[in-house]
Amino acid sequence: MDIQDIIKPENLVYQKTKLLTDTPMHYCPGCSHGVVHKILAELIDEMGLQDKSIGVAPVGCAVFAYNYIDIDWQEAAHGRAPAVATGISRVNPDAFVFTYQGDGDLASIGAAEIMHACNRGENILVIFINNGIYGMTGGQMAPTTLEGMVTATTPNGRNVELNGYPMRITNLIAQLPGTSYVTRQSVHTAGGVRKCKKAVKKAIQNVLDKKGTSFVEVVSTCNSGWKLSPVASNKWMEENMIPYYPLGDMKDSVKGEHSEN
């Protein structure tokens, strides 16, 4: 069979969702942000939420997220996305409000905002991209940087005596009674992407059902910051990040119930 005979609309199995704009993404080649944007855009399209979705963009590499997904967006100050999302979801209780944050934004400068938004059980979805580094500003140490990991500000590797321990902030958030669904996923393999999409779909449904805050951490790569090729950084992540940040659901209940963890 000739390839031109296969390339017909009736044989289509996978294509770019119409919610992703044609703006070329500014992310580095192989960056996990693109995959997570795609998962969100596909789900918002499939669940028919384009008109009622409001995203809150962070400060970090994903600061331009509003250029790539064709929904309503609001830009927030560094780390303050959950506070902005709180306001938006309280005045628009029927909207689907989500924040999209990195580890420098969420776990460092915005640690108080995310803790209290989750503790209040705001009806929002939080997407947390954890690549263990401040990617946009040149690869400095983040709270989630692994012990011994070399970054621009820890040239000899992170020293826990000096810099503290890598923070598993998702585990802390799972303890809060305001959260309903807390999970950690990855997008480095096709299977991982499909699992992550299922988790995000469940989290969106929880927000629509007003069950409380849903929190999805995505263990990601920053190949420019890690100074590795995209394929090598996926492998490095599998060998180093995932043992410290194990994948899976941490909490699946409704707001007000305590986690078993």
Binding site: I6, K8, N11, L12, L20, V35, K38, V187, P230
Partner: protein
Amino acid sequence: MAKVIGAVVVDKEACKGCSVCVEACPHDVLALHLEVNSKGYHYSYMQNPEACVGCANCGVVCPDTCITVYRAKAS
């Protein structure tokens, strides 16, 4: 011979040559081209088109969503 046959169309200009799709392909269909696109990236292409089964793993992992996948029953 496989019962299904697939085909992959890569948007050459959108591809950044990260080769994540090359790794994700279970049948070694994709490879990076020796030529580059206008941005200077070695874009992905079907080096071994007859092995493609249209599983769409490449499209799913592509961060720039530049891959479209088709699948048909083999005649």
